[in-house]
Symmetry: C2
Subunit: 249 residues, 2 copies
């Protein structure tokens, strides 16, 4: 058996999220179906760096799987893409050590969140960015970002349904880039909690709108309670952009 | 009654084209439904600069309609967009003379066709550009464009189903722009026949691939028969970009 490590992009808008679920169309479900076809009916389990929610996209999701086939690395994307729906694209495949694990070996992740601020909505971005046609103060957003940087308990910034006990995460980079009428929020960290990026963006937008003050961030973090942070921004603006492992990046 | 002239964008991927048809989801059907709601059940007919096929998009389709309401121009987009599906967006509305006609007054149109050439397909562009992952010679494409420029009988470059008798059209501009892995074909003319842009692009791609020679264009035009031109490029790459009238542009 050979372990393969694989970079995958997908348009999440028509999926019930990444993770396989009975009677739902999921990215994992489609990946495993394609691998099963390729392996002539033999079930092949796929392990990802983490799940993404319904409507959330990926430019650089990472997965691994094992195969008895020794297809050359560059042939794999063509072979798999022919068996996958066109909302999913295998971008790169490389051979990995047999103990490589797409989830347990993650050293960092980058998410991006796209917001567009034009007065009138754009039909071509309805599934791919969040339309926020109101005035935003970027100065206060950037000031708030500075408070969020670093290692904190992010309990206030994750879904109340979060099951994991340890909510301490390190946010290594937060950037807010303006590209025409598009605002791009870039988050790099060692790991992200359930809904964390969407709650961070929702809160930063409320700060930009003057509904929450930048200086309230330390107190919101200290409360360790979801109800103190802002709204959860909708899924369509969010992209899992890049996953880092020891040997790449 | 006041006549309104309106600029509309739509994502054509989920519509059976622009023109209203029984039991089909069409752009015109949705526009008329929204106007009927706004006018409390009174039917309102919409006239467009021309139709677009299933899967074809518009950034600058132009329509007109009459309304007894004297809503200020800047309030119209918000009022109508609230009643329209989010694949359609009213971008601008302005008052027009009572004899303005969105179709009969057209003096020129611009279409753009997007082709992307990356080796691996991109799930985010599947409905919005044509994936052509093969080598293309831009020099021969540009040479062929020069033969197409100007006033010609474009019978060879329109669907065999074209009903209009006069197939002489003036192509005023053809440009091929490279933007990263995207090729943008820009066509400006006084009018376009059924499938004309898609057949022009399909033929230019075959010229870029070496399957047809640039120098064959004059002979293809002279044949006045669809079978001599190249393939019809698929709809998802095509955008009605801009419509010109006497007083704008």
């Amino acid at each position: 058996m050979q372990r393969y490590k694989c970079k995958v992009a997908y348009d999440g808008s028509q999926f019930s999220g990444y993770q396989i679920q009975p009677n739902q169309r999921t990215v994992q479900g489609e990946l495993e179906k394609a691998l099963e076809k390729l392996h002539k009916g033999k079930e092949t389990k796929v392990f990802a760096s983490g799940r993404t929610d319904a409507g959330v996209h990926a430019r650089g999701q990472m997965i691994h799987f094992d195969s008895p086939f020794s297809i050359p690395e560059e042939k794999w994307p063509v072979a798999l893409n022919a068996l996958l729906p066109d909302e999913i694209s295998i971008l790169e495949v490389e051979k990995a050590e047999s103990d490589f694990h797409a989830r347990f070996d993650v050293t960092g992740k980058e998410y991006r969140y796209f917001v567009y601020t034009s007065k009138v909505r754009d039909p071509f971005r309805r599934h791919y960015a969040y339309h926020y046609p109101y005035a935003l103060n970027l100065v206060t957003i950037k000031k708030a970002s500075q408070y969020l940087l670093g290692t904190h308990d992010f309990t206030s910034f994750c879904s109340a349904k979060t099951e994991v006990e340890d909510r301490v995460r390190e946010l290594r980079e937060i950037e807010v880039l303006e590209e025409g009428d598009m605002l791009v929020f870039r988050f790099v960290g060692n790991g992200f909690l359930y809904n964390m990026v969407r709650i961070l963006v929702g809160t930063l937008l409320q700060i930009g709108a003057g509904e929450i003050l930048s200086d309230e961030i330390p107190a919101i973090l200290a409360k360790k309670d979801r109800i103190y942070a802002g709204k959860t921004a909708p899924p369509q603006g969010l992209y899992l952009w890049k996953v880092d492992y020891e040997n790449n990046s």
